[in-house]
Symmetry: C2
Subunit: 117 residues, 2 copies
């Protein structure tokens, strides 16, 4: 299971792919894009406990996807989109496969020396 690689003293930081895997966390990102919000307000939009939401917020923050800001007794969270760039780069690699024409040609070329056995 855990693929967390402690790496002696480096960032045990959470992987972006892992962070966005959970639907609740995706919802959080969506909610916090337009405006900063304190935990209680945020959790009022979920059916799970405030504490659970708080944990998700921590995970997202550790992944660099949210920023925390203390204002009085409350902690406000807001979207920090930067880490999503990594996802975008990862996806970009697959762009070439989306062009069906190129894909068809590619398969044709491959099949020329190895047709079907």
């Amino acid at each position: 299971m855990g693929q967390a690689k402690p790496t002696p003293d480096a960032k045990p930081a959470i992987d972006v792919f892992q962070a966005i895997a959970d639907p609740s966390r995706r919802k959080l990102l969506e909610m916090l894009g337009d405006e900063e919000m304190p935990v209680t307000t945020i959790s009022s939009h979920f059916s799970m406990s405030r504490t659970a939401v708080s944990k998700h917020l921590r995970i997202l923050t550790d992944a660099g996807l949210l920023t925390e800001r203390k204002v009085g007794r409350e902690t406000r969270y807001r979207l920090e989109p930067a880490p999503l760039q990594e996802l975008k780069r990862w996806l970009a690699y697959y762009d070439r496969f989306w062009d069906n024409k190129m894909l068809a040609l590619q398969r044709y070329v491959e099949s020329s020396d190895d047709h079907e056995e």
Copy 2:
């Protein structure tokens, strides 16, 4: 934990976000982009057991990210990029946050009526 929504008789299919969350699976997708490969060949690139790789292949297939094709006694897998479009669409929503100028303006507007408490 399980966020699987059975939905009476629809696709219990695996969520793409979940499917790509595991690094081994991302490696599999990368390997199977250019050419179709049978399980044994694929698993030779991993340190885990062939059976474990086989399970990852199933998960990716269920997520629609791989296609299976039986050829004799072997099963060959190949990348099926289509489902990645969903990810791309999801990411596209966040594009507006990447333009720092717009972000700065947006924050300025917001702060006009609620400055800092």
